[in-house]
Symmetry: C2
Subunit: 333 residues, 2 copies
């Protein structure tokens, strides 16, 4: 039941075994998040939708799974000096929380333009915040300096086998909670979540379809798939601030081989999806987290005959760190 | 394991058997709602809290359980002519939805000052809306006229054995999902939910403590318990528009005998609880629905030594029908 789904699977940074190990490792700490359904959204979408609510995960986003797996994978000597990351926020909060649970320091480099609620989350969980400039270069440089100063271990937000394995535990739960899912729609940014989800899901059911949901203004995964090689963008522009990262050398091969397609949506579609999450599902989901619903409701998905046989769709709602005022102000009232 | 918990139980409008029957009857239609937990809220409350999320119930509130049980209890001859109710909204939406599932008409009398989102819910679920004046007298008169005109069956929102039995299914699920609960906190209005919850919970575990949460500006249950008889108020004033109804002759004896205490909170505490639900739990809960959290965080509860041994507290979050704008505008920013 765990077929070798692709010839190159040996070379991936994670596999179904490392994902099952992660599940055991994080079980004492992570939430088994609920799956919600809605007849109203089903009739809007014309399909049966299952929503895996990672907005209810510890720390408010799926990121806790990977962070927890990474931190509890460290041996005691490594762990003592702490961990470092640069992150748009949810990974940072998750890493802070997991580090606190293990009793080690987490040094968090955050771009100074990150949403206030994300910074507050990091501090609430005991992370030690170091601000950088918004550019990826400044974030990396600042993180490297902290690494040198402290001897801590770098835990990237996506491009890391421990992270990919942790995020893959979403599939193990989801396919048990809703076993008739034939299609999974997952937000894509650095590719950590979708890599783990795809590896686990295709190991359990090789016929399952894996679709990435990506914002138009940060569509590096779409372009990478089209070009057949990692393609980075010179600039990104989207309300989905958690989806501005690019694929890395560990996530790209998995995305290349196991993600069936990338559905690109614009910010207006993302905001509409957030609104539906609030009004129909009664949950707070940030733009990056709501994009899976935006994808399934988009013309690009609905009018594509390739997807006419996607009947039971699992959507990962990935993060709930949205200021209420931001949500309200973004709506076209 | 199902003791005759009180000498007068024979005379109640429902019991553990009718609640178990309701569970079987509504199972094909109702959601088993998830239970959420939050370390952050636990540390604020100084206790372990379990949140039964009835805001995710079909129709957006626990009311669907009772409405569905009532409608599917009708024999075919009764059902054909449809059902009638007057309601502040959530029961109306629930009854419309349950009637639609059975393929019968639901005539819904709604006071014309009800929140827009509640009226929209009723219409969305196919209910036939008839507006009345805000007063309870006008609501009842209008409903009686509809009854005469149509021959439909009246389904009250609370004071009805079928409704009480349906709402009691919350306990059956909740105590299975979180078996260490020693105290249940439930919003009180007409008393339908807390009657069902108390009957089922005390049948399963006679030692369990049942506390009602009630708004200061509509504290008829508190006064009724103090006076030892049903006490109605000449006026009510609270943001919790779903908690303005009074106990009835069927719910009062159950509340009198099985509800251990009534915790009264003010509107400010209710709004703060809504905000915490949004910011920490990531869910949209209306004022009436959030009052259980308000109660557990209130001084009246925390400083009362009687409750020092309430360690594991189950809170029913009962409805999510809140306009985002209303939520945002109610916050002290």
């Amino acid at each position: 039941m765990e077929p070798n789904h692709t010839k190159s699977s040996d070379s991936y940074a994670a596999d179904i075994s490392s994902i099952r190990e992660a599940q055991v490792r994080i079980k004492p700490f992570a939430q088994q998040t609920p799956v919600l359904t809605s007849d109203t959204l089903d009739s809007i979408a014309g399909r049966k939708l299952y929503f895996k609510c990672e907005c209810f995960q510890k720390g408010g986003a799926f990121k806790f799974r990977g962070a927890c797996n990474a931190i509890f994978s460290l041996d005691d000597d490594q762990a003592t000096k702490g961990v470092v990351t640069h992150s748009s926020g949810n990974h940072a909060a998750a890493l802070s929380l997991a580090a606190k649970l293990r009793g080690i320091p987490a040094y968090i480099v955050i771009p100074k333009d990150a949403p206030k609620c994300k910074v507050a989350n990091v501090k609430r969980y005991g992370g030690r915040v170091i601000f950088s400039e918004p550019s990826m270069q400044s974030r990396e440089d600042t993180a490297n300096k902290v690494l040198q100063d402290t001897g801590a271990v770098l835990i990237p937000s996506s491009n890391d086998g421990r992270i990919i394995s942790g995020q893959g535990t979403i599939s193990l739960e989801f396919l048990e909670q809703a076993s008739d899912i034939d299609t999974l729609i997952v937000p894509i940014s650095g590719g950590g979540m979708i890599s783990g989800v795809a590896l686990a899901a295709k190991a359990i059911n090789p016929a399952i379809r894996i679709l990435a949901a990506e914002p138009m203004g940060a569509n590096d995964a779409f372009q990478s798939k089209s070009n057949g090689r990692i393609t980075k963008l010179s600039e990104v522009n989207t309300i989905a601030d958690g989806l501005r990262a690019f694929l890395g050398d560990l996530t790209w091969p998995i995305v290349r081989d196991l993600v069936d397609d990338v559905i690109v949506v614009d910010d207006k579609e993302i905001i509409q999806a957030m609104k539906l999450c609030y009004e129909i599902l009664k949950i707070a989901v940030e733009p990056s987290g709501a994009i899976g619903l935006a994808a399934v409701l988009s013309d690009g998905f609905r009018k594509n005959p390739v997807y006419s046989e996607c009947y039971h769709i699992g959507i990962v709602l990935s993060g709930g760190n949205v200021d209420l005022g931001v949500l309200w102000n973004s709506f076209d009232k």
